[in-house]
């Protein structure tokens, strides 16, 4: 239970911690394609990243709750196929803006890391 896990990134607080923000970014990106329930998000992230990222369900549920509180996600219970209830998450407008910001931020950082790695003496 370290404290950094519970921290949320916001536009006014550019985060230097790369690993920490990744999960939020991945969730936001996944939900930008279509509304989804928790399990769906985990699977989609795993599939698209071809298994590079495997989402721990505990962390995922905590992150979903946090993003929802931030107002970036909406959640509603829906009937699904075979008449079961599931909690579906949708990206809000604020969530979309946050995704844009986080994406740009991630690209900037990734490019910087790439430049550093390809630098020659």
């Amino acid at each position: 239970m370290n404290a950094s896990r519970n921290r949320t990134r916001r536009m006014d607080q550019p985060n230097t911690d790369v690993i920490q923000g990744t999960l939020d970014l991945l969730i936001l990106k996944t939900l930008s394609l279509q509304p989804m329930h928790g399990f769906g998000i985990a699977r989609r992230v795993e599939d698209i990243s071809r298994g590079v990222f495997k989402v721990n369900p505990g962390s995922l549920l905590v992150a979903l709750q946090r993003l929802e509180r931030q107002g970036w996600l909406d959640a509603e219970w829906r009937q699904t196929e075979n008449a079961r209830r599931a909690k579906f998450y949708t990206l809000t407008r604020a969530g979309r803006k946050q995704l844009d910001f986080e994406t740009a931020d991630w690209r900037r950082r990734a490019n910087a890391v790439a430049r550093l790695l390809s630098a020659e003496g």
């Binding site: 399990f39 721990n56 369900p57 505990g58 549920l61 509180r69 107002g71 209830r85 909690k87 604020a94």
Partner: protein, 879 residues
């Protein structure tokens, strides 16, 4: 928006915890089902799929916990749970709760009372705008300044925006049922500007009014306006009669105005001194106080430097008389410091005493909590075994002690309300702001803050202790290990408690001994059966000396005729009344005009000595022949005779006294020394003369009446006053008091500090005894088995008794030793309040040590007796 959402989400969760929990539960189950289904789809068997899904998800309860704990509302829930649990614990142990809460309540209450008493006097600024800019100026040599000094500062200093001298003024208001002597001040015209408060109606004085022979104008207080004039709007611009003269009311001060330079002042007149004067004019008398408002940008240090530069360098165009040479410089301090200066040491001492008491109370409660913590080790061990984190346990315990101190604090505020009433009732006259003392916001805040701090202070130690234990061991056995460690802490606390109590008791003891000394002082006269009152001769009728003398004679005759009166006499100053009238002496036999010092002047009617029972040592007393026109006769007291004449016979010696008019007083007798002030260690030189042989007849005189019995003295005041009024109905008779009342008033300040210290001392003693008892009886409970073994091995009950007693007395001894060192240091702050005892007075220290040992022996006895009666067979079987 995000914070708003956080808040609403949190509140919704709190309000409908069950629903949100169910949703979370559903979500987790849904996740599990889908993972299982996915695994089955990949070809796993149903059971293997389920198991793999469980593995991936981890413990669902833990996951749910993690999600639940991520919101802020979780903290609130934990707090509610802790508070509920804490309340249950406190209720289940009512005795403990009551003792702790009452102990804390007394501590918090007493401290809050003292704080609210001290706060306005010492820390709150005076009730004026930018009060820190008001300075008081005095002459280092004499205290009060002369008008000449004021005039010079006014002309030369650049440090002030406004400067005002002032002196007391006590006119008599006529009309109404009785003549009333009012308290007022004669002030420079800038007085109200210096204070920064202007009349609410009408106006302040103008500079033109403040000159010799100026108009009779006054400003009155709101209180007087309502009390005597019914709040009549038309009073401004009208005249009222004071001392037989008409005075024009020009202004009324606002209701909130408080004159800190004279708390009882009800009216003000312009000082109206001459600006051109000769050395024998009153303008060169040291009888004025001086205040000024600093010019913007001037600091206290700068004002000080400025005024002392002026003091050092006289200017020929502003000549000074020798006695106002300012040779020792001027004292410049803030008015606040001047007002608080006298009472500050006493108040700080009392405040320190109450803080010590509070610390003792806290130590006691900490001890109780530690003892209880030891009893609850099993409970903590169980909770730890069930997965409670240490932080969680500490938090729980601190919540409990916070609850306890909250109860204590709330009770303490009740104690404070009652205590403040008692405090005001016993506080001596002259303690500034007493009337305005109440539990205000700052005192309540202080009390609550104190409570919080105490809650943390008393909670942290026991909490850390309880949670630090080897909890595993705690589960297995509840009495053996780590008990020793508890004991060390608790013993240290008891030692601290004993030491602190000793410090308080020594202080209380020293004050008690001082007061005994004060009462044992021979005042030099018989103070029983004496009634005293002050008579003021006012109005145009008494502008002539012979008229005053005639009034005194007639009044005295009338008083003597009152049944029950045995003797009556007038004196212009009364012992123990706070008056000091001193004039310079020049002896004839010291031909060179050196300074022969000064002596108290008593202008008395001849009966004074018999009425007061002042003994004649040699020569004769004054008599009816010592009147104006006859050779001037004087009595001197023994101190005078001893210091000026030594072994020589003083009878027949001559001296000049007071203003030098070339006439000699001849010593006709020597009388016993009388204390003018009860606190004076040595008697001062004194001269007694008749009123008509002094340079003038005083307007303000005191009547002393000896009655047949003490009860007469207090009950005959109206009759005696009636006798005076039978001579002249318009003369106010004030300050009616028996001499024994004057004695107790003179000692009021010291008695006040004493009462507080005694109360705190006794409280400290009780708390220390409770503390010692608590620790020892806890120790006996924990050692039942060991004691049982000892008994089984053949230890006699007396051995066990001695064992426990020895343990308790050791703690006391260590505490006493430390306390003695502490007391020797702490009583430094008391020195100014002591009289006739040193702060290291051996009998006090011995007495307190004996007392503490006695009390702790009693406190040890009960647990020891209980230990001695332990039946070995019962305790051993219980193991």
């Amino acid at each position: 928006m995000s914070i708003w959402r956080q808040l609403t989400r949190g509140l919704r969760t709190l309000a409908r915890r069950g629903e949100t929990d169910a949703e979370l539960n559903d979500e987790v189950r849904d996740y599990l089902d889908r993972t299982t289904a996915a695994n089955v789809a990949r070809g796993m068997s149903r059971s293997a799929a389920h198991r793999a899904a469980r593995l991936e998800l981890g413990n669902p309860t833990v996951t749910q916990e993690r999600v639940r704990n991520s919101g802020w509302e979780h903290g609130v829930e934990t707090l509610i749970v802790d508070v509920r649990y804490g309340l249950r614990r406190l209720r289940s142990n009512l005795g403990f709760t009551a003792v702790s809460a009452i102990t804390l309540a007394l501590g918090v209450g007493a401290t809050t009372v003292i704080f609210s008493a001290i706060n306005p006097i010492l820390f709150k600024s005076l009730p004026y705008p930018r009060a820190d800019h008001i300075l008081a100026v005095s002459d280092v040599s004499s205290g009060p300044v002369t008008f000449g000094t004021y005039r010079e500062i006014l002309q030369r200093s650049r440090s002030f925006d406004a400067l005002a001298p002032f002196k007391p003024w006590q006119p008599t208001l006529e009309g109404g049922s009785e003549p009333e002597r009012l308290n007022g001040q004669a002030v420079g015209s800038d007085f109200f500007r210096v204070l920064g408060v202007m009349p609410a109606r009408g106006r302040a004085f103008t500079a033109a009014e403040d000159r010799s022979g100026g108009p009779r104008v006054i400003v009155i207080s709101d209180a007087l306006w309502h009390r005597r004039f019914g709040g009549d709007q038309a009073i401004v611009g009208h005249t009222i009669t004071l001392d037989d003269d008409p005075w024009l009311v020009v202004g009324i001060m606002p209701p909130s105005f408080e004159d800190v330079t004279d708390a009882g002042a009800d009216l003000w007149m312009p000082l109206q001194y001459k600006t051109v004067f000769t050395p024998d004019d009153r303008e060169w008398g040291h009888h004025l106080r001086l205040i000024g408002r600093e010019r913007a940008g001037v600091t206290l240090a700068a004002a000080r430097a400025d005024l002392n530069q002026i003091a050092r360098a006289p200017r020929p165009d502003l000549p000074r008389v020798p006695w106002a040479s300012l040779a020792n410089g001027l004292r410049v301090e803030s008015l606040q410091d001047q007002v608080a200066g006298d009472v500050r040491p006493a108040l700080l001492a009392v405040f320190s005493a109450v803080l010590v008491l509070l610390v003792i109370a806290c130590v006691n409660v900490t001890n109780l909590l530690l003892a209880r913590g030891a009893q609850r080790r099993g409970e903590f061990a169980l909770r730890a075994a069930l997965g409670a984190e240490r932080g969680r346990l500490v938090r729980q315990l601190i919540t409990e002690s916070m609850l306890l101190s909250l109860f204590g604090g709330l009770l303490g505020i009740l104690v404070a309300v009652a205590g403040l009433r008692a405090f005001v009732a016993v506080s001596p006259a002259g303690l500034p702001h007493v009337a305005s003392m109440h539990l205000d916001g700052s005192a309540l805040t202080f009390g609550l803050l104190l409570t919080t701090v105490i809650g943390l202070a008393v909670g942290v130690l026991p909490a850390l202790h309880a949670s630090r234990d080897d909890l595993q061991a705690g589960l297995q056995e509840t009495s053996r290990r780590s008990v020793g460690e508890h004991h060390v802490t608790r013993r240290v606390l008891v030692v601290a408690e004993v030491a602190l109590s000793l410090m308080l008791l020594v202080s209380a003891g020293l004050l008690l001994r001082s007061l005994q000394r004060v009462f044992a002082v021979d005042v030099g006269f018989d103070s029983s059966n004496l009634l005293t009152m002050q008579v003021q001769l006012t109005g145009p009728r008494y502008r002539q000396d012979d008229a005053k003398a005639r009034f005194l004679d007639e009044a005295l005759d009338a008083v003597r005729r009152v049944p029950g009166v045995t003797e009556a006499a007038f004196t212009q100053q009364l012992p123990l009344s706070g008056e000091f009238d001193v004039y310079g002496v020049h002896l004839e036999r010291n031909s060179d005009p050196k300074d022969d010092g000064a002596a108290l002047r008593y202008a008395v009617t001849p009966d004074y000595f018999t009425a007061m029972r002042i003994p004649l040592v040699r020569g004769r007393l004054l008599n009816a022949h010592d009147v104006a026109g006859q050779p001037r006769a004087a009595l001197i007291n023994q101190s005078f005779a001893r210091s000026e004449f030594g072994a020589d016979d003083p009878i027949g010696q001559r001296f000049r006294f007071g203003p030098d008019d070339g006439q000699w007083y001849t010593v006709v007798g020597v009388v016993g020394d009388v204390k003018q002030a009860i606190d004076a260690l040595d008697s001062r030189k004194a001269v007694y003369i008749t009123p008509s042989q002094w340079h003038w007849v005083d307007n303000l005189v005191s009547l002393v009446v000896r009655t047949r019995s003490a009860s007469d003295a207090s009950s005959m005041a109206p009759t005696v006053r009636g006798a005076i009024w039978s001579v002249d109905r318009n003369q106010p008779v004030v300050r009616v008091a028996t001499m024994s009342t004057l004695v107790s008033t003179a000692t009021a300040g010291r008695r006040f500090a004493l009462v507080l210290f005694e109360v705190f001392g006794v409280a400290a003693l009780v708390l220390a005894a409770v503390g010692i008892y608590g620790v020892l009886s806890g120790s006996v409970t924990e050692r039942i088995r060991e004691i049982g073994v000892r008994a089984a091995m053949g230890a006699a009950p007396t051995d066990i008794l001695a064992l426990i007693l020895r343990q308790g007395m050791m703690l006391t001894a260590v505490g006493v030793a430390l306390g003695l060192i502490g007391a020797a240091a702490a009583t430094r702050g008391l020195v100014t309040m002591l009289f006739g005892v040193t702060r290291l007075d051996p009998p006090t220290y011995v007495g307190v040590v004996v007392l503490l040992f006695g009390v702790s022996a009693v406190a040890c006895w009960m647990p020891a007796w209980r230990a001695a009666r332990i039946d070995p067979s019962v305790t051993l079987r219980a193991e």
